[in-house]
């Protein structure tokens, strides 16, 4: 092989006062799998002997290490790196900081990629490693998912704006020299400018998914690196200056599109880094900061704002407006993303962040948060902002008071409110303490609360393992608890004259006092410190204890205990316990475990069978499985959480399993248990072994799936169509098939009978509960879900504009929207009363009974609703994509549908304009459809099941 003498690759290691870590960095280069690497150490005039260490390394490895020193300190990374570029001999150059390391194969992978593609620049994945814990996180991993080569950074602008480090890259040396690429000196964030210039100059860039660089992050010591000192205004000045320089380059070269990308990133990343610190800094800083920021941001186009998430957009806007009153809570949401920090305001059917600025059209667009669904989300699932007003230490404990946001006034004045204070160690897996009986009052767009907690008596921390305690407000509204809220300190003064004495369980030597503090995310918290006469040690004493041997032993013990608990609760262990313990216990006669849609609902045929058993007074032990919350499940049954130990035990000992989808696949059914699989719908799309997804699996995988299916002792079908499709698709034996019809549909058949016999259409209670006027025709829109390309569930994007629908039909129709249970939908307040989200209603049957007509697409609701003989419209806006691209269908919907198949919104509206006509036109087809797909739904399915299995003389 023809090679110029010298190394293939040079690593420039820069150092400033880091004699301790430098050898580790250098060793990570010397240990590279690629041997043809030299190290060029450049010392920025250290005062701690770093240069002597560098020289010693050079002496030790004379062929591989050279050491240089700048004549005077340059104050940054740029100067030493530039010197390195001048000194290197390798064909390629990599930069390494003295406190970081290179991954073992980094140089080999860089060189391999550079040679294979001829790239000027090769970039790989950085891991940020916490020195203290050893935990690591990937830095912008989505850029490094596969090997990619670009002829210009314009092909992937994200690269230029996101991963702006200069250290995870390999540069062709001549590329740097020919383009005169150098780091700016005397300014922070030199990487930003250098990497931007390098990306722009590169004629070819290759990204590799390999991990190349360890960015060691040390947040324990007093040393804070430049990048964690961002609360200093100086830093922001530097950052803005660098951005202006990059902007100038973009302008020079006419790279408007890149400028847009960078502006978007500035708003969503750079600005956010500084905004997050604002609540903790003084007014002087804020004024300076906002002046600088506003001046720079005035050059950012509207288009950049449109690409932001709502909260980023809102913060940037409020900063520009200098609306501090609204910006402060907005930053709270920015830092704590799940938190709603303002009461919001509703205007003209839309929901806005605040009531101010709304006269301006642009402001309305920015402040509109309707689509976030705050107005529709159940209160118990929301994290509301609790703000501290007063904090006082009483000697025995604390007295605190504050407010809680009342979103859109949804907490009514009549609501029964209760509150408590909870203290909990921040370290996971440790128990907290609750102080009940806080006072709470309604006060318009917020609540006020006040509480006293006698900490010194009740709080008995361990002392060593639980140094930090978080405090939360637990609010319950009409008996329903909300998400516990951390308490934002903000501008509240903390009165700490009287110390908070505590008595740790382990020893008072490590701590005897609680000190209040504000957490990194702005919340009230307590730290144990030692201040008393017993031991006048500082906070560092506790820190040392935790760092040292006893702390490590204790922490490891805790970790192990937690690990053991985690192990016990892991799925694998549970499955083993189910098989090896629970399944050895005797089967309990008369025990029936019910589950519907994996525990997500109390609904469908399992519910219909359960209710029929209750109606007939069958003696049995009922157990219902629920996935998340037990509310809305029957009170007269034992409720077990899916995958809990009680659930597994119930399944292991049950005489009957009844569900409509599938009990956990890995659980073997005992032969003594009878499994009645009601299934949840006839099939349009190919199912089971008929679907490509299953077809393509290996023999073993198919056998696994077959074992799951073979657990069914009985499988309910509602037509010969099912017998022709589902039964072979699941490879079920004939004797398993029960031609009973679906128990869930008995109510539909009965309703039609009653209607035909002259009783007229009786509206179910749910119509009144939803507040729908008597004279309104009710339409039910029930689309099915769509898969993503990767096989997941795609987010539901309504194919029709609900506002438009409400304007056009709102006086005649009420539209009930039921998205698939795997999806959610957000309706704007403007359509209130005219379009109603019924996704969370467990059981669809009453909705069928309520609906005078049905709009669906390919959902199996078509087979059930058809039993009511009411008009149906098939809104198949994506028919070709849905049917052809995925798994194929058992029949051609367009030929068999019992109603018009429309392809767009206009088509849908024109059918809705004259529903009665459509109803009569399609009457014959509806009958045919029921005959073909629902022949066994005769209204007695539940009775059949009960008398066969649960009545004396019944058989399994």
């Amino acid at each position: 092989m023809n090679r110029v003498p010298g190394p293939d690759l040079s690593v420039v290691v820069i150092v400033y006062n880091d004699a301790e870590l430098l050898p580790t960095a250098v060793q990570s280069v010397l240990d590279q799998s690629l041997r043809s690497v030299e190290v060029v150490i450049v010392d920025d005039c250290s005062t701690d002997g770093s240069y002597e260490v560098a020289q010693a390394l050079a002496e030790l490895h004379p062929d591989r290490v050279r050491a240089f020193q700048l004549e005077q300190n340059s104050g940054g990374c740029g100067g030493p790196r530039n010197r390195g570029i001048a000194e290197v001999r390798g064909e390629y150059v990599v930069f390494l900081d003295s406190d970081d390391t290179l991954q073992h194969d980094a140089c080999r992978n860089f060189l391999d990629a550079a040679r294979a593609t001829g790239a000027d620049l090769v970039s790989g994945l950085t891991k940020r490693v916490q020195v203290r814990t050893g935990k690591s996180a990937d830095w912008y991993p989505w850029l490094y998912t596969s090997t990619r080569t670009f002829e210009s950074v314009g092909e992937l602008p994200d690269l230029l704006v996101y991963d702006t480090l200069s250290t995870n890259m390999c540069y062709r040396r001549d590329f740097l020299r020919d383009n005169g690429l150098e780091f700016p000196v005397g300014i922070h964030y030199e990487d930003l400018l250098f990497s931007a210039q390098a990306y722009l100059a590169a004629r070819r860039i290759t990204l590799i998914p390999n991990h190349v660089y360890n960015w060691m992050v040390d947040d324990t010591g007093t040393r804070r690196s430049i990048s964690n000192r961002r609360h200093e205004v100086e830093n922001f000045v530097h950052r803005v200056r660098i951005h202006r320089q990059i902007d100038a380059i973009f302008r020079e070269r006419g790279l408007d599109d890149l400028k847009l990308h960078k502006d978007t990133k500035f708003l969503k990343h750079d600005l956010v880094l500084h905004l997050r610190d604002l609540p903790f800094l003084d007014d002087d800083y804020r004024t300076q900061f906002s002046r600088l920021a506003r001046e720079y941001m005035s050059r950012i186009s509207q288009e950049a704002y449109e690409r932001l998430e709502p909260i980023h957009r809102i913060c940037a806007y409020l900063l520009m407006e200098e609306d501090w009153a609204n910006l402060n809570p907005a930053i709270d949401t920015l830092i704590n993303r799940q938190k709603l920090s303002v009461p919001l305001t509703e205007r003209d059917g839309r929901v806005y962040w605040c009531a101010e600025h709304l006269d301006d059209e642009r402001a309305r667009a920015i402040l509109d948060v309707t689509d976030l669904g705050y107005h529709a989300k159940p209160l118990r699932q929301m994290t509301l902002r609790a703000k501290l007003e007063q904090y006082r230490q009483t000697g025995q404990g604390i007295a605190v008071s504050g407010t809680v946001v009342n979103p859109l006034g949804r907490i009514t004045e009549q609501a029964e409110l209760k509150a408590a204070i909870e203290l909990r160690p921040r370290r996971k897996g440790m128990r907290g303490i609750t102080f009940p009986a806080a006072e709470v009052r309604h006060a318009g767009d917020h609540l006020t609360w006040r509480a006293e907690a006698d900490l010194s008596k009740k709080l008995r921390p361990l002392g060593l393992l639980d140094p930090v305690w978080d405090i939360r407000l637990v609010l319950s509204i009409d008996g329903t608890p909300t998400v516990p809220m951390l308490i934002t300190v903000g501008d509240a003064a903390l009165e700490t004259e009287l110390p908070l004495r505590i008595r740790p369980r382990l020893s008072r030597l490590v701590a005897d006092t609680l000190e209040v503090e504000t957490s990194a995310k702005g919340h009230l918290a307590f730290v144990q410190v030692a201040q008393g006469s017993v031991s006048r040690r500082s906070r560092a004493g506790l820190d040392r204890a935790l760092q040292g041997a006893p702390g490590t032993v204790a922490k490891n013990g805790l970790r192990r205990a937690r690990g053991a608990r985690k192990y016990v609760r892991s799925g694998e262990t549970k499955i083993r316990v189910y098989h090896e313990v629970f399944s050895k216990l005797p089967v309990r006669k008369g025990t029936v475990v019910f589950e519907s849609h994996l525990g997500k609902q109390y609904s469908d045929s399992p519910r219909a069978i359960y209710e029929e058993m209750r109606r007939q007074g069958v003696k049995f032990t009922a157990i219902w499985s629920y996935a998340d919350r037990p509310e809305d499940f029957p009170a007269d049954a034992t409720l077990v959480k899916r995958w809990s130990f009680p659930y597994l035990r119930a399944l292991a000992q049950a005489e009957f399993w009844i569900d409509n989808q599938g009990f956990p696949l890995k659980l073997t059914k005992r032969p003594e248990t009878t499994y009645i699989q009601t299934w949840h719908g006839s099939a349009l799309k190919k199912m089971g072994f008929d679907s490509p997804q299953l077809r393509v699996r290996t023999k073993d995988q198919q056998a696994d799936y077959q074992r799951v299916l073979d657990r069914f002792d009985h499988f309910l079908i509602r037509s010969e169509h099912d017998a022709r499709t589902l039964v072979p698709a699941f490879r079920l034996k004939d004797e398993v098939v029960l031609r009973s019809g679906y128990p869930r549909n008995d109510a539909l058949v009965a309703a039609l009978d009653a209607e035909r016999k002259g009783g007229g259409r009786v509206r179910p209670d749910i119509v009144r509960e939803l507040g729908i006027p008597e004279d309104r025709t009710i339409l039910l829109y029930a689309p099915t879900f769509r898969n993503t390309a990767a096989g997941g569930v795609r987010k539901f994007e309504p194919p029709l504009d609900f506002d438009e629908f409400a304007d056009r039909f709102g006086d005649r129709y009420t539209l009930l929207v039921r998205s698939h249970y795997l999806n959610t939908v957000v309706l704007p307040p403007s359509v209130r009363g005219r379009v109603i989200d019924v996704t969370s209603v467990h059981d669809v049957t009453p909705l069928f009974l309520a609906a005078d007509a049905m709009i669906t697409d390919y959902s199996s609701v078509m087979f059930d609703y058809a039993l009511l003989d009411r008009p149906m419209v098939f809104f198949a806006y994506d028919y070709d994509e849905y049917v052809k691209d995925d798994r194929g269908t058992y029949f051609d919907l367009t030929k068999h549908a019992p109603g018009p198949v429309v392809r767009d919104v206009e088509g849908l509206y024109s059918v809705l304009d004259d529903l009665p006509r459509s109803e009569s036109e399609w009457a014959v087809r509806r009958k045919q459809f029921v005959a073909e797909f629902g022949e066994y739904d005769k209204g007695d399915a539940a009775r059949q099941i009960v008398s066969r299995f649960f009545r004396p003389g019944g058989s399994k």
Partner: protein, 380 residues
């Protein structure tokens, strides 16, 4: 330079893709002047090759197959003394065999290379002293196929410290890199042979060459064929190969009433001839690595249709350029692509000729050169 090259596989004489590949590479390296030594860990239960005529040395470590690997999984297992003793014996035996490997490796000249073709064999190599040899570990299957098997964990464990861990395609290598295997690279397979003459594509015949086992997906091909041939009567599907699913597949063909259009050709020793008499090639496999049959069909100038089940498949076929890919398991898509080729002689010719040209990137000369470059690169 001439190197000592060891190729270590599970076995040197079993029937299968990896063994075939090992012998092909051993022959090619020998022709280039390298000194090749092929080592198998165990003898195959049924020997398919005679070792005598080979131009390179072969060695098999064990006389009989060693006991299965076993580790205690339950408390009960811990008390299973006979199994534990068997394991202890197995480990002792492995060390004994590894010592033989060490002796062989010690005799190598500087610049020697050790290629381990299967991760199972690596367990022995890891017990041996490989000295200054450059160690290359290989996975001859797609990442997804490995992931679905016990080999996933074993690759991560046993190939962790090899100098280079080679997969078949860049896409597979990238997936392994994301699993933390930063020593990963890739190396495609070479064309097994080049035909004297390519197919004239004059017969209305679609061919497939595969073992008749579930993995090869002939059942899906038959379903797809039923759809395709209904639109294009007069065409024949020739299935070359034998295997355990033969009866089931024939029953399926009968059920689909394909008896007139499907010919069961049995196993053939004349694959080039079989391909020459076809106009289209079908590869309906459920899992693949870097399918040699596809290389063979394309070098015979046949347009191919395959399920897109592995990076190796999409690496070989340029979809809609020199062949077609169908979504995995989607027999309607497969039928549609077959139908397009069956109904368009001009397209068959264009794609077939393109395939024959494009596939030249995998000639033995090119692949051997890539290997030699890799050996040099790993010495840097």
């Amino acid at each position: 330079m001439s190197r000592d090259i060891f190729i270590v596989s599970n076995s040197v004489d079993e029937l299968g893709g990896v063994t075939t590949w090992s012998h092909q590479m051993a022959r090619l390296f020998t022709e280039r002047g390298h000194r090749v030594h092929m080592i198998g860990i165990t003898p195959s239960t049924v020997s398919h090759r005679s070792a005598g005529e080979l131009p390179y040395e072969t060695t098999t470590l064990y006389d009989t197959h060693p006991p299965q690997a076993w580790s205690p999984k339950t408390l009960g297992d811990l008390a299973n003394m006979s199994a534990r003793m068997r394991q202890a014996r197995r480990r002792a035996g492995m060390r004994e065999q590894a010592a033989k490997l060490t002796a062989l490796f010690r005799a190598a000249r500087p610049g020697g290379v050790l290629i381990v073709t299967q991760v199972w064999a690596m367990e022995w190599v890891n017990l041996a002293d490989t000295g200054d040899l450059t160690v290359i570990g290989m996975s001859h299957e797609s990442f997804a196929a490995a992931r679905a098997s016990s080999r996933f964990a074993r690759v991560k464990r046993h190939y962790k410290d090899v100098d280079r861990f080679l997969t078949l395609t860049r896409e597979d290598a990238d997936l392994w890199a994301r699993q933390g295997m930063n020593n990963v690279g890739f190396m495609p397979n070479a064309l097994p042979w080049v035909p004297g003459t390519t197919s004239p594509r004059s017969e209305k015949a679609v061919a497939t060459v595969a073992r008749l086992s579930q993995e090869k997906g002939i059942d899906m091909l038959l379903d797809a064929w039923a759809v395709a041939v209904a639109e294009h009567p007069g065409w024949t599907l020739r299935i070359y190969g034998a295997g355990e699913d033969e009866q089931v597949l024939k029953q399926q063909a009968a059920r689909l009433e394909l008896d007139g259009s499907v010919e069961w050709m049995g196993r053939t020793d004349d694959v080039p001839g079989a391909l020459r008499s076809a106009s289209v090639f079908a590869l309906p496999s459920r899992a693949e690595g870097f399918p040699l049959t596809l290389l063979e069909a394309m070098v015979s100038a046949l347009p191919c249709v395959a399920f897109d089940v592995a990076p190796g498949v999409r690496e070989i076929i340029a979809d809609e350029e020199d062949g077609f890919l169908a979504a995995p398991g989607n027999i309607w898509a497969f039928a549609e692509k077959l139908g397009i080729l069956m109904g368009d002689a001009h397209l068959r010719d264009t794609m077939g000729e393109r395939a024959a040209v494009a596939i030249q990137r995998y000639t033995t000369e090119k692949i051997v050169a890539r290997w030699e470059e890799l050996f040099d690169f790993l010495e840097l």
